[in-house]
Symmetry: C3
Subunit: 483 residues, 3 copies
Amino acid sequence: MLPFLFSVLALAPQDSAPLSEATEECLACHEVAHPGIAADWARSRHARTTPAQALALDPLERRMSADSVPEEMRDVAVGCFECHGLRPDAHPDNVEHFGYRINVVVTPEDCRTCHPVEVEQYANSKKANALPILEENALFSQLVETVTGVHGFAEDGSLVDLGSSDETKNTTCYACHGSRVEVVGHETRNLFGQEVEFPILSNWPNQGVGRINPDGSKGSCSACHARHGFSIEVARKPYTCAQCHLAPDVPAWEVYHESKHGNLFLSEQNDYDWDAVPWKVGVDFKAPTCATCHNALLTTPDGAVIAERTHDFGERLWVRIFGLPYTHPQPENGRTWELRNADGQPLPTSFSGEVATEGLIDAAEQDRREKQMKAICNQCHSSSWSDGHFARLDHAIEQTDRMVLTSTLLMQKAWERGLADPANPFDEPLERTWLAQWLFYANSIRYAAAMGGPDYASFKNGWYELSLGVKKLERALEDAGDD
Amino acid sequence: MLPFLFSVLALAPQDSAPLSEATEECLACHEVAHPGIAADWARSRHARTTPAQALALDPLERRMSADSVPEEMRDVAVGCFECHGLRPDAHPDNVEHFGYRINVVVTPEDCRTCHPVEVEQYANSKKANALPILEENALFSQLVETVTGVHGFAEDGSLVDLGSSDETKNTTCYACHGSRVEVVGHETRNLFGQEVEFPILSNWPNQGVGRINPDGSKGSCSACHARHGFSIEVARKPYTCAQCHLAPDVPAWEVYHESKHGNLFLSEQNDYDWDAVPWKVGVDFKAPTCATCHNALLTTPDGAVIAERTHDFGERLWVRIFGLPYTHPQPENGRTWELRNADGQPLPTSFSGEVATEGLIDAAEQDRREKQMKAICNQCHSSSWSDGHFARLDHAIEQTDRMVLTSTLLMQKAWERGLADPANPFDEPLERTWLAQWLFYANSIRYAAAMGGPDYASFKNGWYELSLGVKKLERALEDAGDD
Amino acid sequence: MLPFLFSVLALAPQDSAPLSEATEECLACHEVAHPGIAADWARSRHARTTPAQALALDPLERRMSADSVPEEMRDVAVGCFECHGLRPDAHPDNVEHFGYRINVVVTPEDCRTCHPVEVEQYANSKKANALPILEENALFSQLVETVTGVHGFAEDGSLVDLGSSDETKNTTCYACHGSRVEVVGHETRNLFGQEVEFPILSNWPNQGVGRINPDGSKGSCSACHARHGFSIEVARKPYTCAQCHLAPDVPAWEVYHESKHGNLFLSEQNDYDWDAVPWKVGVDFKAPTCATCHNALLTTPDGAVIAERTHDFGERLWVRIFGLPYTHPQPENGRTWELRNADGQPLPTSFSGEVATEGLIDAAEQDRREKQMKAICNQCHSSSWSDGHFARLDHAIEQTDRMVLTSTLLMQKAWERGLADPANPFDEPLERTWLAQWLFYANSIRYAAAMGGPDYASFKNGWYELSLGVKKLERALEDAGDD
């Protein structure tokens, strides 16, 4: 009955866990219909461990944060039905499927069954809120619409912006930020002679970090824990973060690649133990990856906790170097559209550089976080090294913020003189020169300073471009007769 | 006599195949003269298998497509002489060499001895025809000359284009597209006290996909199957395709790298079986590489064929997202210089967007190919997932084609108003603004949509640049007094 | 007493070497304070070999170039104290530390104890002199200041360059070139209830190749041999060189990545023996990395030396393709600020293209070096292949130098006509157009030609940009009324 499944399971050297009856039935068809999924899952920890086994581990070694699971799940592998069969009443995407009630979209609220702490942390993060961060913020929303709008001609021959489509946003910004997935109808397909019903989902597929799911929950765990292996190895490797955290606006991957840490990772990654929980400094890995500093549970070789695991990825950070348009203390939670700067705009800083007075962490909390991060650095670096490193970051922040202020003052002059129309501050070439100053170049320099990738502070979207941008803005004013 | 050779062969854990007498004699010198080549070959399948052994395999497992080979080749390894000694009369580059007649340039027509199906497929592809695609098309040829021409000053002090050299083309466009290699003379070198004759080859070395060889054949198998290992592993890894398929015009590698597929490949590639034939979904590999979707023989875990092997790399594609200047159905064969658009230009589409009526595949064939591709996707994705994905690609195609049309209409206005001279549509800065719209930005967005790399649809040569380019063209017209 | 240390050492499968008493005492605290460093070192060759064992090896297999070491170091591992305790009187950064005299910054002069030949070679290189190369050269220094200067407004509202800070230079140019590390004071920290003194170091941390150390020596071995593993594997992999040799000015990494050599390295690197000394062509590795061609000791499979090891990384090169602003013979030593062109500027070539008459290697030396490099190529390539390849590089050099001359003549015209102010030739947008011509595009094309990465000769900072730059300069002159 399941000849292929057993061949798939045979690939996993470890003992496999018993399957629930429901999951066996799922696999009977799906190992044939979608063998790639079945094989991926068959190699996963979910296929090889029961929750009961997972719960028996030492707390530091546990990957589950629940203290218990529903009785029927305790002693079977975490298979198809264990995830796709949860909370059917909460799922508008639930359908009757060969005798079972199945959800198409597994959401964080389902994962919460075994991983409640991670889900709770994540829910508070900017990642979980990444879609409303764009949609609910009038300025960011205008930026999205402006960049992705299709242009044509009006009847009078003038160029007009005909607006941006959902699909274009899904291919661009929302691919990372997440889309709004809703059940917008149903269709039937004939399978084995039966008419089988499926939900029609809007803005699907999507695996963005802030996806809004049919059940109303926010996030897609598979953004980082790719289906259906849900591998901690993959999530710990920087290639996962590099799906989204990319130049020119967020050049984390590029900076990491050229850093000493990146060099060591790329050169020696095969010597790491990517699967160990907890992750022991010096024993399991050498140079850090993104996950090391930003979210993993780290211990010393003899098991003392250096940093607790977190799935709120901004939680270890004190300053937000992603300028909007200036750097600022990290927001208290992921609902950044609720922030207001001194001018009432939905930004953490005003155009003149003033930091919002509410909604951002205070100096004491900043200090606590910086010390915590340095504790990680100091596993391999002396405190004079890490203090010097972060003093340099502070300086890069100060200097780039000043350059953004200079650029913004020049742009405001240009708006005042009619060289561009501030009604939409993002659409004209001169405005893009200004936009690139803070969104691309100042950010690049700060990421480069934070993670040690000097080229991104210099010639690659760094000071070279930042100083040129100031001169271009100045020249535009001069050409218009300014002096 | 052959102490080093045996040490080299000792590196290969598998049994080695017997060598022909001729190849033994080649190696006696060449293992000393070029030990890197000898060692590379010694590790290869060619060194470890005889054609007779290869022919005995199950058809799905065969890497040879010939049903038989010349008797003298059957039971020896595929060594130096077996490849460099074929068809001497057809090779203008053949020389007498220590008692043997040796060809310098092994060509697809030689490889045909064992791999006729692959050679035949390849011969029909755009790859095989990549050199005349540039040379025989007046517009593309003008683009090549314009981009690579050296500039100096005329006697009157005016700037002039002094033309492009063969060598510059060989370093740039023809390095990928292929050069024309001909015997243009002979020279002798003194080896071991003997005067030994060698052919002098034009435009050599070259390993471009469309190289025209001294024997008149087209293509270089070593473009992807690098000498002298001819490894299927190397050809299946995306680094091979990434030699040429690169941003800004063809950002396949960059998009793949940031895609989920690329993340999984980069993270888990060491777990794959890169050498298995056929390539079994879920068993031998997880996330696809370029080869998976575009050319490899794929089967399910239990051996059902999902896709047949092809060496015509466009054969599985329905729409050509590489716009010229707009997207269009894939051409029927690789001789794209024979296409004519509605205005008689050698392009698949006219500047106003009309698709050529002949030489492109029809809607039925497009439909067949799209279904075939989805069959590959569906090994790991539900049909609602893959349908949604390709609907989004269709939308990206439609929107980017509209943006290219808008840009082209603006450029035509600029030409009409004398802001640029259309005699050469590629040389002036404003024309480059237009060129980048379709050759770089529209293409990037489509590759990003096709393969799931959102940054290349957004900030990296994506909509950010595409919308900016439209505004720059508009601004140039405004500055010239247009309204 | 040392339970963790032993667990760390247990990670190394090889036998460990005996530790000196001093190093045991270091580790007693530091394995707890900085377990990452301790573990990294514990896996290193330094931890597993004594100098006496190293000296007993066959000369070709030795990694030490000293013939002897101080008696007390002979029979112990190269541990903490063996490096940090050397030459205390020569180290202004030396401090009393729990009964030992310890240096914070280990320098090449310390490494010289075991590796004198490497240190001597390095001292002569451009790398060792990378900081004065920027600081002592008025033009380069002006470029650094211009690019990294922060801009604000003078009292009259005009834009002014407020200068560049040391910290910004340390984050940008000096991160690779090296900073000047000096003891500028002392501080005490309370450790285990004791007040312990530490030096305060200026411009710290830094790992640039030309770092100037407190003891006056030049260079940081850890730039390439990262602390505290000092792994030859890491140094041989191209990721190390890719920390600094990056686009747009020095696109060695990017070009290598897209080259055939890069493809093979990326695809097959796990099959290499990265640790073998000497490095045997065909046996230990297949495609070369940076280290293969530029510095490693290479032999044939049977041990004949192809190229001697060098740590003067320009020593195998004949032409310097990094144009300043034109290509030129390699300088005789790393003190390039001493060069003078025909116009008395501190450049190897004049703005009109004349090559300096002193301080550069002569034609005979160039010829010797080119032949030496070809001897490496010919391990895997025929001489017609390598001759053709380098003839193409010569052509790329000639053509790009011509394009730089054309661009420079246009820029000089622009300066003469007052379109820009030559007092600072690097700050205005038009000057940046000229600067990019030689610093970015001409260089990219040459690197692409030298190492076989055609995209960087074409669309990626290649001829596409170079020909466009000429047209932009021409257009600027035309717009100003030139004809």
